[in-house]
């Protein structure tokens, strides 16, 4: 970005500064540490200069917003035109209670819904199955059948609100229920707008909520991608997720690399169904964490967009620029929240959210400060949402596009993230791709090693975490009441489940389950039949049990 003469002048001046000015100063004022690194362990130099970005070709590597390689953002005007979607992940107890929380958040200025399901739902169990004991409505909302979904979305116009659903193994079943409610509301299917997480690959090494073994799990993901490409054109069938990889303990480079490797696997697998890349790639979406290191996170988001665009263009020969877009949702990093001095989390979340905005995200969830203690209470959620509104309207961060571009440090780090991630992707390719690498435990080991290393750094006090290994207090003070899930939740949920089972057309349900078994056996795309089945009030557990009987169940590869 600089001419050679200027660069050599800069180099001379820098060398002089390093030989004289710096030692003079450091002699009297030693630096706090010998080595500085990012949270992921990438070395950080004392100073970045034009020399660190000399290899950058502006048009090739950065370009303009909405133009390849999209480093500077997907949209031509970014947040000057439209702010990111403020989407707060929520769900607890019964469908009625979560419906009320949704309405509250929409009233407070939230612009998109995000449904958190309880563990039984996530694992494809009905609320009354043995494995559901004690879990109903605890960590999300229980949805066992269409009636639950009807109550959950009551009074919410599905043609106006977009909805994200954090659901993977049973993504098809929950999307089917959403489609059914849309049909009841008379919303044309092409207007249904939202996202199913549906990223089953990362489950095996990150979120670990696996139902089926890897290959049928991938088939289920791709069924949805294919079905949406043909029938639900505004739906994002998948949110390829680095968030859980990071939360499980990876560093930022691993998060970036493993997520994109998963993305490659989904594209390859969908191409095998005979779809053309430009017919589905535009609806692939991504999901990342925003951790503590502001600049590393910004660099990660920018590198992710550029790297994905290059992969789509060069590896998969996409022609439509939209196929090269990495649209992303970001969530502030849950694992950085501390139970100690919980109000400190407000500040952590604000920094993390700012990094996501400076990184150009399309959508953002900010964690509540009480989440290391319990599910978020209403006051805490509001403060988290307000954090986004403060960034949007008060901080000035949304006034210009990609404001940190051109920072020698951020650009150098963006390059570094891309290079390091690419090395991992090459390695995964050489192992035969994501599934063989998963079966060998590659990701699991990488992530567990990083998690342990991070913990050891905290315990050796090489890494300061405020309130944990420094600046601690005797008594923690929590300024709000913690949210508890009362026991009547389970009772109400079970009562509705029994009513639904009693009142539906049993013959139809039996017929649907038989058809599903048959189609799963023949490896057909299951979505049309799943939609038909949920409309007949076949339950989530019944459908999943049939699929378990055909596909088998995943046995965890246990590694410590």
């Amino acid at each position: 970005m600089f001419d050679e003469r200027k660069l050599s002048e800069i180099k001379k001046a820098r060398q002089k500064w390093e030989k004289t000015t710096v030692p003079n100063w450091v002699g009297r004022h030693p630096e706090r540490k010998n080595d500085y690194t990012t949270t992921s362990g990438i070395p950080v130099k004392r100073l970045y200069t034009p020399e660190d970005v000399e290899s950058i070709d502006y048009l090739k590597d950065l370009g303009f917003p909405s133009e390849f390689p999209f480093t500077r953002g997907l949209h031509a005007t970014m947040y000057r035109g439209r702010l990111w979607t403020m989407r707060m992940f929520s769900g607890f107890a019964t469908a009625e209670q979560t419906n009320q929380r949704f309405k509250y958040l929409l009233k407070e200025g939230e612009t998109g819904l995000s449904i958190a399901f309880d563990y039984p739902t996530i694992m494809g169990y009905d609320s009354d199955q043995a494995m559901s004991l004690g879990e109903v409505g605890q960590c999300g909302v229980a949805v066992s059948h269409l009636k639950d979904m009807e109550v959950l979305l009551d009074g919410i116009p599905l043609d106006k609100v977009s909805t994200s659903m954090t659901i993977n193994g049973p993504a098809g079943m929950l999307l089917a229920m959403y489609v059914a409610v849309g049909d009841q509301q008379g919303v044309p299917r092409e207007k249904l707008n939202g996202t199913t997480q549906n990223d089953n690959l990362k489950e095996f090494f990150a979120q670990k909520l696996c139902i089926f073994p890897p290959r049928p799990a991938l088939k289920m993901s791709v069924d949805l991608i294919e079905y949406c490409a043909r029938h639900l054109p505004s739906w994002n069938p998948i949110s390829i997720s680095g968030y859980h990889i990071r939360e499980a303990g990876s560093n930022a480079v691993q998060e970036l690399a493993f997520t994109l490797a998963d993305g490659i696997a989904y594209v390859e697998s969908t191409l095998e169904r005979g779809l053309k890349v430009d017919n589905f790639a535009n609806r692939l979406s991504f999901f990342f964490a925003s951790h503590n290191d502001i600049f590393e996170e910004i660099a990660k988001f920018r590198a992710a967009r550029r790297l994905w665009a290059r992969i789509m263009k060069e590896r998969f020969k996409a022609k439509n620029p939209r196929s090269m877009w990495m649209r992303m949702h970001v969530q502030t990093s849950g694992c950085t929240l501390t139970a100690q001095q919980p109000t400190n989390n407000l500040i952590r979340v604000a920094f993390q959210a700012l990094a996501a905005v400076l990184g150009g995200t399309q959508s953002l969830h900010t964690n509540s400060f009480d989440e290391a203690l319990c599910l978020p209470s209403e006051e805490a959620v509001r403060a988290a949402l307000r954090t986004q509104q403060l960034i949007a309207h008060e901080s000035g961060a949304a006034n210009t596009i990609d404001p940190v571009a051109g920072s020698y440090y951020v650009e150098a780090l963006t390059n570094e993230m891309e290079e390091r991630a690419m090395k991992y992707i090459d390695k995964i390719d050489s192992m035969g791709g994501v599934i063989p690498a998963t079966e060998k435990g590659f990701f699991q080991r990488e992530i567990a090693d990083s998690a342990y290393k991070y913990q050891k750094e905290i315990e050796r006090r090489e890494r300061t975490i405020v309130g944990i290994n420094d600046y601690t207090v005797e008594e923690d003070w929590v300024p709000i009441d913690l949210l508890r899930i009362p026991p009547h939740v389970e009772k109400e949920q079970l009562a509705r489940l029994q009513r639904v089972r009693r009142e539906r057309n049993q013959r139809k349900v039996k017929e649907m389950l038989g058809k599903l078994h048959d189609e799963a056996d023949k490896n057909k795309n299951l979505m049309p039949t799943i939609i038909e089945a949920v409309k007949a009030y076949t339950t989530l557990g019944e459908i999943t049990d049939v699929l378990r009987s055909v596909f088998g169940e995943y046995k965890e590869l246990i590694l410590v």
Partner: protein
């Protein structure tokens, strides 16, 4: 000098409930192992029955339970009850996860020796296990 070798402390780290947050459990398992203990990690989604069976089969001195799903008040009492039933009265049981203070008090009453929250250093756990593991007869 006596050559009597101290028997290694045997620990099972178990994940009851449906949640899959195993980062903490795995770190604890590694830390105890690095401290010289023999550690068995059960993997995810173990029923109370499975956990107690593992403890019995593996002849452990210590059980560490990790849960972050909110189901602890259903599952932990069940585990404690089964331990008693199977005669494992001497096993040291501790727990970790997102567990509110009022529940911690209740859990201690049913015999869970300690409940550790987020941010606990692994050195604290190692020390706790060493100090509280009952001596083998």
């Amino acid at each position: 000098m006596s050559m009597k070798r101290e028997k290694k402390i045997r620990v099972v780290i178990a994940k009851p409930g449906l949640d899959s947050h195993d980062r903490g459990a795995k770190i604890v398992a590694r830390a105890l192992r690095d401290a010289g203990m023999e550690v068995i990690y059960t993997g995810l989604r173990q029923t109370p029955e499975q956990i107690v069976e593992t403890a019995l089969q593996e002849d452990v001195d210590v059980i560490g339970l990790s849960i972050l799903s909110g189901a602890h008040m259903t599952l932990f009492p069940r585990i404690m009850e089964l331990l008693k039933k199977r005669g494992l009265n001497d096993v040291l049981v501790f727990a970790g996860g997102i567990i509110p203070q009022e529940d911690v008090r209740a859990l201690k009453k049913i015999g869970i020796k300690e409940v550790f929250g987020p941010g606990t250093p692994t050195s604290t756990l190692v020390e706790f296990v060493r100090e509280n593991t009952p001596k083998r007869k």
